[in-house]
Symmetry: C3
Subunit: 253 residues, 3 copies
Amino acid sequence: MILINDHGMVREVRLNRPPVNALIAELLVTLREAIQAAPRDGVRALILSGAPGRFSAGLDVPLLLGSDRAAMAVLWRELYALLHALAASPIPIAAALTGHAPAGGTVLALFCDWRVMAQEDYKLGLNEVQVGIPLPPVLLGALRRLVGSRQAERLAVSGILISPQEALRVGLVDDVAAMDQVIARALDWCQRMVALPSEAMLATRRTARADLLHLFEVNLEPEIQRVIENWWSPSTQSTLRALVERMGKKASS
Amino acid sequence: MILINDHGMVREVRLNRPPVNALIAELLVTLREAIQAAPRDGVRALILSGAPGRFSAGLDVPLLLGSDRAAMAVLWRELYALLHALAASPIPIAAALTGHAPAGGTVLALFCDWRVMAQEDYKLGLNEVQVGIPLPPVLLGALRRLVGSRQAERLAVSGILISPQEALRVGLVDDVAAMDQVIARALDWCQRMVALPSEAMLATRRTARADLLHLFEVNLEPEIQRVIENWWSPSTQSTLRALVERMGKKASS
Amino acid sequence: MILINDHGMVREVRLNRPPVNALIAELLVTLREAIQAAPRDGVRALILSGAPGRFSAGLDVPLLLGSDRAAMAVLWRELYALLHALAASPIPIAAALTGHAPAGGTVLALFCDWRVMAQEDYKLGLNEVQVGIPLPPVLLGALRRLVGSRQAERLAVSGILISPQEALRVGLVDDVAAMDQVIARALDWCQRMVALPSEAMLATRRTARADLLHLFEVNLEPEIQRVIENWWSPSTQSTLRALVERMGKKASS
């Protein structure tokens, strides 16, 4: 479900679950283990990338609608564990958004150190509300850190998907590039990080990211419980089922 | 003192105290009651608007200078109660700044969800310092949430009035429009909010606005006492009296 | 080591330690005493300026490499005491960045009220990481307040020096001007502050800067101890020695 590609001391971890890198528990676990293994393998910086045109479509909603409560609880716990691993990574991580990155696609990027997005007609954003899911507080906290309280409120409540250019303007991404340059740009960023005096860079990074990590240093169990309960609310279920129906019609037309 | 105009599930509450919608206790109470009544009437989003060219001139300084301490205490308590009602509103509120919005005019907008301003030669800003009034901490907290600490310090300490374009640039408003389009733009924003999956939108909105509401979840009595005391300080009184004298000369010339 | 130049109620304090206004303990003490003496002399606003082309090169690294532990401890304690004095100043301070302002040069400006930078090919930024020094948390806190969490992380971790134009764009400075206009621009800002109703301006300023002052209202002793320890780490020492060697070659070529 992932591909590993080492460029010297920089490791690219590429999401590889065709066709749209939709997130399921197995992928979340595999990805977290890859993030956590990298520093032990001597890797000094990470790139998190996706397929050309498709970074990740977020959670695999069609599959999830057939899941039971136990499976949903596993999925959300694993998503939180992955986000925690990204926030706590002892080495820098660049998100190379190689294409569409709605919902969970953008969420992964929020917890990385730096984000570059393909500049074509791709979209990103936290459209959870549009599909009937309240944006969980930890995700909103990570968003607010990047774009400020006002833009975080606007983006999260409206659930809009935005262009790479608007994302750059509001601070949701740090750079945009032609699609075939996105990974090269992320690699360049990683190499500049690796070239810095290591102890000073890593210590400053810990200080600068302490507020992000702090989001996980409270008891998140009540939040996760609420997220799981919300999933089963009648309004969320009906919105998600209507979404999947539209996706089905689109795919078959 | 206010006009009510329903557009389907969106209600417009228009300030209507000619000539400049100056704020007095009675208007503050009427406005708060209208904000609080709307959700009970089945309204799903609110527009707070003013007269063409005049959103609100803020507190009615000429009138207030003739008030006694008891009346001033009532006024400030009612202002805080209104701001709390705006921050705590269970439904979204768009501020339609249809014209000049100095001081209290801008203050009301800080606690709404979204702000659109008429793009002509109108001004807005927190010019309390210019008229001798220290900006109270709760107001500064709401300002900081929209524009960040640096711009909040700059705007609050200098007390400058700014153009709609500069307000858009720094984040004090979210949109600008021709004056005759301001209310239509606010209505459009409200209708987009209402069209979203309701439970998810409202829950995300509560999360995103928790920091704003938190400003009211401490004992504000000491702050309100200081605000009232400041009003009676010799320097504030002499600055306000000079202001009213200039206003009188301008009006009679 | 400093020059004093009074313009009515505004006092300019000019760093005067040729050739590059490198900071040593004696200069830090002199500067702090000047900042603290000004309000007692009836001064109503301060300008902190440097030499044309050189605001300050930051800490005097070549000299410091020959210092013992006791001298380094004094230096860092005096730097923190100066930053505290800037943050706690009862009167506004404009930083007139008359030229290059790397590392400590930028640090001083973070704790002032307002910053104007010469627009020529000068650079500023927090390049501590580039020279092997982790950016201390208090400095990062002051940076974050000006530019937000995302830009603070980017600037601090990468340790890049940036142009005045980019500094203006991200909020690290508030204005840019031709070099021979920088002090005039700062004086103009100070005079506008002094012209405001004094009590209201000063009270609002205290409210708006409470978050900056709060950085010093915790026990900073553990942080200062870590900063001093870091200075003597083998990696910091070797990076600094390589830097000084490059500076020597450049100077003699």
